[in-house]
Amino acid sequence: MGQVAIGTVQHVEQAVNAAHQAFLSWRKSALEERLDVLSRIAKLLEDESQSLAETLSRENGVLLSTSLGEMNMAIHAVHATIKNAESFFNPKQAEDETSWVSVEKRPIGVIAGIVPWNAPMVLTIQKNRTGNRNRQHTRHEAFAECSDGRKYNYEKKSQPCSLPASSMLFTETGTSALP
């Protein structure tokens, strides 16, 4: 059906370091620049929707119509982010005769996300778009299947977001129905 490389702790460290390097310049980029990147992501997802949906169905076993629906949701998530970015982006400010206050938003930096096996595309995008929209943070995503397979066991047992990279491992992605 396909082959997936199994990553090591070192691979994760490298990925996190690369993400952090990218973050240093990304955090200084203008909103317009970020929205442009988001628009390009949306376009790429649209262009590749059919083939990505087929891959999702091969990996997950789900109906192609379900995978196409998942692609549409992912694209919609990116567009919704573009639409609402500016209002979120602006700092909240107040002023009186003696002072001025600005409450600004800063990204928290590289984030580790562990995405369940059932809907990897839309769940990844829902997190990634956040990173892009929050001006500065980049996100590193791991596609992993739990050692024991079950979703909630997996999530309870697995490492949460924002952990040191060394505690995460890539494993094989899900396998399901055979053709």
Partner: protein, 250 residues
């Protein structure tokens, strides 16, 4: 979470659910059953906020069961890329084995389980993690199939007698992700919705509408998680605030 504590890292969890669908006695069954089925059987039930148990008023129970069985039996079970398939297999062996064992335990209980749907390729049945969609009736409110997260296509139908009873049962779970209420009366549905311990409640629909997908914070309470995805609230999970205060000279 323990690992994150040492360096004060924030965590965000979107975990499992055991979402109840509460059917009220004014609901139009022919209208709502196909919609509930979308939520119950999409991805063969492998969705965190899939409907995982259905509560039906006692007087409508048999009618609901018969109508739902008729519709579920129309599923054509086959490969995900087969255009004639309307129902696909489970994702992986561990999940498949878990759900199969759950079915066996239901068969040992006093509940009645019916396995439905048509095999598109009977000869190829063992060449994938295929399971029949199944409906479980005459189930106890505290039985495993009701209280666990099955994450598979096995749907328990529970009969209830009063709103007070169904709200109590709906909340009698360690989970609190999604939930749904089905009714012809929005005000009544809203009142029930507000009594449910959950991060999200859908009235007369399976999952978010287009607007809901943009506006609703996605996530749950109790053991279903910490924090939210989606909407503006979801973005707050990934930022810190930096407040700047300028003192004007006078």
């Amino acid at each position: 979470m323990k690992d994150a504590a040492e360096s004060l890292k924030g965590v965000h969890f979107e975990l499992g659910g055991n979402d109840p669908a509460i059917v009220l006695d004014d609901a139009d069954l022919d209208n709502i059953i196909p919609k509930i089925m979308v939520s119950a059987f999409r991805r063969s039930g492998q969705v965190c906020f899939a409907t995982k148990r259905i509560y039906i008023p006692e007087k409508m129970y048999d009618s609901f069961y018969t109508k739902m069985c008729d519709l579920v039996d129309q599923y054509k079970i086959g490969h995900g890329l087969d255009p004639s398939a309307t129902f696909a297999p489970l994702n992986n062996k561990v999940q498949y084995d878990f759900v199969k064992a759950l079915v066996e335990r239901i068969k040992q209980s006093s509940a009645k389980i019916v396995e439905l749907g048509e095999k598109l390729e009977p000869d190829n049945w063992d060449n994938g993690y295929y399971l029949h969609p199944a409906i479980v009736r005459d189930v106890e409110p505290s039985q495993e199939i009701v209280t666990c997260e099955q994450f598979g296509p096995i749907m328990p139908l529970i009969s209830y007698r009063s709103e007070e009873e169904v709200i109590r049962w709906a909340n009698m779970t360690e989970y609190g992700l999604g939930s749904s209420v089905w009714t012809a009366d929005f005000e009544r549905g809203l009142k029930i919705a507000r009594e449910i311990e959950a991060g999200m409640t859908f009235i007369n629909g399976s999952g978010q509408s287009h607007l809901g997908y943009e506006q609703m914070p996605f996530g749950g309470v109790k053991q279903s998680g910490i924090g939210r995805e989606n909407s503006e609230l979801g973005l707050h999970e990934f930022i810190e605030y930096h407040a700047i205060n300028y003192h004007k000279t006078s």
